[in-house]
Symmetry: C2
DNA sequence: ATATTATTTTAGACAAGTCTAAAATTTATT
DNA sequence: AATAAATTTTAGACTTGTCTAAAATAATAT
């Protein structure tokens, strides 16, 4: 078994590789897990000894297939727990991440499969992120950042990039939620901010910074 | 916050004090948390510094009110999670303890109160153990060991002392479950084993060792 | 191509929790 | 009351994960 700490490193490496498509740097990991570069180097040696990563000094790191499987399992657990918290216990989508950070480390295959079944095998979590299946298979839906759409495009919101409480609460306040239909009414040249219509009703202005943190798919 | 380890010591001390009514010994704690007496002494110093226990060298230990509150909170979480696992996820009563040992350390007041509400504020866990309320108040039901009843007594099974998988599975196999009515048909003088009738139906023989691990209340 | 800067690794230390072996204290026995 | 036995504490060491400061390597700029 891997320790909580090891699991958090694996998850961090998985997400960074996913994002960049490249081997990830010691510094990037350090920032992600909120620790020093020296500590990361120590841990990389350990994960390498355990054959969880591919690592050569100064050359960056990727996950081995064993490491990727472990990472996907943690991500599966995290997202299923988030789903459980929102759908069953009526938590808000901005409240669940920190709790799921703890629950994702609970070790019981039977438990996670029962939760999955109880939730009716959900495909995405409350933030629109895909949930890996029991074999670690992950359906990566081809969404795009809202900031990449053009004037008069109509799309459906499928996810968010930023998962912070403040961002999610801002979306709530603006009436922006997963599944809603968005029409791009206007794009301001100066700062690339957007005027959008939500569900054929309200018009709302959002900054480019916000648009870059919303995922959507063409309708 | 207290670490997982500290929480497990507090829980162990709580249960040992509960059982004996006296200050508990270093050795007793060592056995309960499955570690060496030396390690226990180290931890007792730490818990004492944190004002969680009353401790004087060589004199044994009891919980401070702060420590007792912490212990009861962990026990509340453990028992509510066991209830959730059995009632909602259809686990058997012999499968849940180890998972609850992990879940009891998840830190979120909101989570545990939502679970409590979702379960409709249960009073006892799947093993008949009482669940402390949100204020740490615990209703100690006055049950007795089945081994203390007399011939022709009729009683209702309310709990178990031993929580091991093998014991609980033995009870399942024998048709003995919480809430069932038991009539003591005979007590064998030689070894104090019992012939009992379950729910006015089947007759079953159980050893005194088994009877000493079943709790019941007079009908 | 060399010098400067940034990144990464090593060295050495620390806190938490654990261990074994030895010393101190308490309890039980004669 | 003195001795033996059991319990508890101390001493010293080890592991995991962390840190800072210094050294090594790589990347960038002149
Ligand atoms: Mn999350
Ligand atoms: Mn999520
Ligand atoms: Mn239990
Ligand atoms: Mn229980």
């Amino acid at each position: 078994m891997n320790s909580f700490t090891e699991e958090n490193y694996l998850k961090a490496i998985y997400k960074l590789v996913q994002l960049s498509g490249l081997a990830v740097s010691t510094n990037a990991i350090a920032e992600k897990v909120n620790t020093s570069a020296a500590s990361v180097t120590d841990m990389l040696k350990k994960l390498s000894d355990k054959k969880l990563i591919h690592y050569k000094k100064y050359q960056g790191v990727t996950l081995s297939s064993k490491g990727e499987k472990a990472a996907l399992k943690i991500i599966r657990k995290h997202r299923l727990w988030e789903m459980f918290l929102v759908d069953i216990l009526d938590f808000k989508w901005d409240e669940v991440h920190d709790i799921a950070e703890q629950l994702e480390h609970v070790n019981s295959d039977k438990l996670i499969e029962k939760i999955d079944k109880f939730l009716n095998h959900p495909i995405v979590d409350p933030h629109g992120d895909p949930i890996p299946d029991a074999n670690g298979k992950l359906n990566n839906p081809k969404s795009h950042l809202l900031s990449f759409f053009n004037k008069n495009d109509v799309c459906i919101i499928t996810g968010v990039v930023d998962h912070s409480t403040s961002f999610l609460q801002y979306l709530d306040k603006s009436g922006i939620a997963l599944g809603h239909e968005i029409k791009i009414k206007d794009i301001i040249k100066f700062d690339r901010s957007l005027k959008i219509t939500i569900n054929k009703g309200n018009n709302v202005f959002i900054s480019n910074d916000v648009a870059k943190n919303i995922l959507a798919i063409n309708k």
